[in-house]
Amino acid sequence: MSQTNTDPPTSIILSDSSLPEGLPRCAIPGQPLCSSNEYTAGPGTYIDTNITIANKSAIIASVLGKVTVKRALKAESEKSKEQTKPAHYIRTVSVSRPEKAADAANAVPTVDDIVLARVLRINPRMANVAILAAGDGIASEEYGGIIRSTDVRETEKDKVKMSSSYRPGDIIRAVVISLGDGTNYYLSTARNDLGVVFATNELSGEPMFPVDWRTMKCPITGSTEERKCAKPSGLD
């Protein structure tokens, strides 16, 4: 079982009054926030080499919003959590507007983003999907995407049958693996937590629930259909 890579449990998000000293509560684009010596630049910020704070390039706000700092364990110190000292923390500073988080500006898919998409049509080689939401945002217009048959699941890639993985109308969770060409992003569901999250039964039209990783069941008729299901979150 591949583990989904979430934040370490010890990550803390600081904002408003709990912000470390020296950081502003709100920021306007162009406003220097802190030195890249102490913090790493998160979303809504950039590093400018021409402006220095404490002899290091400054981190500067690039959007209007509230400043937050995420404190997380460094990757290498994760294994030995008991010896963790504050020095092993990575502090990421970011700027965001909570009420603007769902805006189109945050919904441009980038590589490694988890996206929600609707299956438009399928053929034996690939499925065409429309990306509805990416990152934190909801797309103002749908971005096109393609899932090739080799990217549906991790094992037995050569035996994948597209028609028993997705059907048009399904809502899927996928990861962006490439920006693709002019029209389509390339997506993959080759992970346990990725795949169909919402599908309706062909006969009854009812939303189905997943039974195992490749079967979904209708709660009314009890009939089953084949899908590449996403593992529901919260299951271990």
């Binding site: 162009g30 690039s62 209007l64 919003g65 507007r97 500006a105 797309a139 920006l179 060409d181 029209t183």
Partner: protein
């Protein structure tokens, strides 16, 4: 060659701008230097800003980033268009009639200047395969367009800069602009007020990213034959205009800060902010 624009209802060629009983020029000059700027006024657009100062009434809508079809591009494409409403002023009504509803030269050069001013500031690389549309509507401009184009240009850039920030698009810095004029005697001053009898040897407008101390756009026109703007004078022009742009930036900053507070206090559904500022 007769080319008609069938998609729009054009104004009759005898159309006249609205004139008010009391001359608006006299009342407006007395309340000089009052800018009204407001962001987030149209919930349907990704970002919007409205600017009002004396005769200038400008509305900017930002739409995007939205997917762009066609060939692959690793960064976003910026599109700027400027439209004068037929009622905006008499000179522009003439312009629109000449253009028969098509983009006039004035609109084209303003759009080009705004594009030049904004492009260096926007982090286009953050939005691959996307397009950002900036639509500028000049609801009301000064009647004698020729002399005051630079003022309109400055207002357009400042408003568009604020609207881009309102849309949540990542930028290096907020862009603001300031117009300056060089009088026939050689004095350089910030060109901010509407003047009916306005004579100058040259007029210019500068767009800048004030907190980075970078100029993103510069447009100068000499208005008299004798004028020559070179060397020392040009440096002074840049200094005066940059200082003016910093002043405008202060106003824009306070509007943006207040719009943030307004959103916070009204909760998640409140998409409103109203700010009026005067200096």
């Amino acid at each position: 060659m007769y080319m008609s624009d069938r998609r729009r209802i054009l104004v009759p060629h005898t159309a006249q701008p609205i004139t008010y009983a009391d001359s608006p020029t006299s009342s407006l000059t007395s309340s000089s230097q009052k800018i009204y700027l407001r962001t987030s006024l149209l919930p349907d657009a990704s970002g919007s800003a409205y600017f009002e100062h004396q005769q200038h009434k400008i509305l900017v809508l930002v739409n995007g980033p939205k997917p762009q079809r066609g060939s692959f591009s690793s960064s976003a494409k910026l599109l700027v268009d400027v439209k004068f409403l037929p009622v905006s002023s008499d000179a522009h009504v003439l312009g629109i009639q000449q253009g028969l509803g098509f983009e006039t030269d004035l609109e084209k050069s303003l759009a080009e200047f705004v594009y030049t001013s904004l492009v260096p500031a926007i982090r286009l690389g953050q939005y691959p395969k996307s397009g950002i549309n900036v639509s500028i509507v000049v609801i009301s401009g000064p009647p004698e367009s020729k002399a005051l184009v630079k003022q309109v240009a400055a207002a357009c850039v400042t408003t568009a800069g604020a609207a881009i920030v309102d849309a949540g698009i990542e930028v290096l810095d907020v862009v603001t602009a300031c117009a300056v004029k060089i009088s026939t005697k050689g004095d350089i001053s910030v060109d901010f007020d509407y003047e009916q009898e306005s004579k100058a040897s040259a007029r210019a407008v500068i767009s800048s990213m004030s907190s980075r101390d970078e100029i993103t756009g510069f447009w100068i026109d000499e208005e008299t034959e004798a004028a020559s703007i070179e060397g020392e004078i040009l440096t002074q022009v840049l200094q005066v205009a940059s200082a003016g742009a910093i002043d405008v930036r202060k106003l824009v900053n306070s509007v943006l800060y207040r719009s943030l507070d307004g959103l916070e206090s009204k909760g998640k559904n409140g998409k409103r902010s109203a700010d009026s500022i005067s200096d």
